[in-house]
Point group: C2
Chain length 297, copies 2
Amino acid sequence: MASDSDGDTIFNLNEVDGLQVTQDKQAVLGGAVLGLAQDIDRLFAHWAQQFGAEERQFSPLVSAAQLNKLEYFKSFPHQVMFPVSLLPDDDNLNAFADDPISSDDALRLTETSPVHQCLAPAACFPVYMSMSGQDLPGTCFVTLRSTCFRKEESLTPLERQTAFTMREVVCVGAQGDVQEYLEQFKQIVVGFFERLSLPVVLERATDPFFNAPTNRKYIMQKVAPLKHEMVYDGHLAIGSINFHQSSFGETFDISCQGSEVFSGCVAFGIERWLFAFLGHFGTDTDSWPGFEDLVAG
Amino acid sequence: MASDSDGDTIFNLNEVDGLQVTQDKQAVLGGAVLGLAQDIDRLFAHWAQQFGAEERQFSPLVSAAQLNKLEYFKSFPHQVMFPVSLLPDDDNLNAFADDPISSDDALRLTETSPVHQCLAPAACFPVYMSMSGQDLPGTCFVTLRSTCFRKEESLTPLERQTAFTMREVVCVGAQGDVQEYLEQFKQIVVGFFERLSLPVVLERATDPFFNAPTNRKYIMQKVAPLKHEMVYDGHLAIGSINFHQSSFGETFDISCQGSEVFSGCVAFGIERWLFAFLGHFGTDTDSWPGFEDLVAG
């Protein structure tokens, strides 16, 4: 069962065509619900196209050294996840292979190899990293879709998953261009939510920083309107609009026509959009909007 | 530079439109090469459709308990990767946040949380797992595309990556149906390689088992023709055709119309197909086949 902000059941996951939930609370998409997820992503790609965004595809593994430059480990040590393997020593591998798992299904990992990468916690970091040291010829727009990974205290299929799918549309360039881009995208999504009567509102927000009160970046988010979330039904952030000022540009030594570079991104959590659509339109596939309905207007 | 089986350079990665290689040897796809990757995947989906395969989308996290039922940890402890997070205790997180990374860019992980999942080492395992305990109404076909993760001793962009993209087409059902399916798919891919004059041949193969000589599954693969690889230029497996006999059915208690269930899968490594196409057709985008050329005939 899925519930709204008052704890009321709004739809039954078992009644959604093509949706299956595994024993470890992961959502498997097929049939109609996979089609809806694809339509939703095509909607994002359609919006990205309006800005001439170039599609790119990155690995879900992100350099730890690069992420450290963003002070990511100081800010989100409770959420970051690492791709770990065993030390490739025969005795070590045999010790694991002989007794890999405990009675409560936790793995008994033996000695692990040095770790140099993280599982992508958000889609857009590799975009800025890929521009390291570059002087951009002009403001540029990139869109990408990635599997992202975050440790969560509790899991709910579609709403809160360890692994989830994020579509982002990123703008890097002159300050005015980035701010205008974010403003235009705000109008696009607000207009969309109004047209479909989806109960989603934009709210100022902060990221869930570790040791928030002493984190410089948290304080910046509190002071300036840097982050807005698209909040469904008063409780679930299905997307966000973020202005990074010049922080990524400075960290990765990016410039634009020789000048300081700014950046912003619009991020969508695809499984959470599915949740919002199912909550609002119900589980009857006949009442779901088609792709043409999504991009109309 | 990419090289062939004789060590000769066959194309320069830097000359491929839209291909970027990160400092940690990961391939970023954009522009023309992303279009080619998408066309190649559409070709696989086109083949899958000929068998009426249903598209599904699974999480890249796979239950360790389920994977253990396949004796996976005994067979591939050197390749399996785990999504690891830090124990969510303030002192533990602060200790990591204060000094997260060493001078050689290896993370200094503090105490980690119990691990119950693995990063998917292949796309198709979750398909069988999702059918656990079921009696199928008939032979069924599923296709899916997943990011997969394997620890490798050395990395080469496109050819050998820790994270890569696998498209699979899976058949689960009656023995005769599965065997006929694999035979038909063999003819499809062999016909394709011939038509495009791609230097790819089907070869009997075994998986890279740990402690191979004593592994029952390795011995089965050696004795019976269970696995064929699509080998490009004599050295790179870009896909495989696999007959699992009744092993997945037995492990996960699946039946088909009350009878023993068999399974087989055809797997394609999308980055490796890109490598083969670039090696064969070169880096001039004008000489690349279009989607209509791929599905013709």
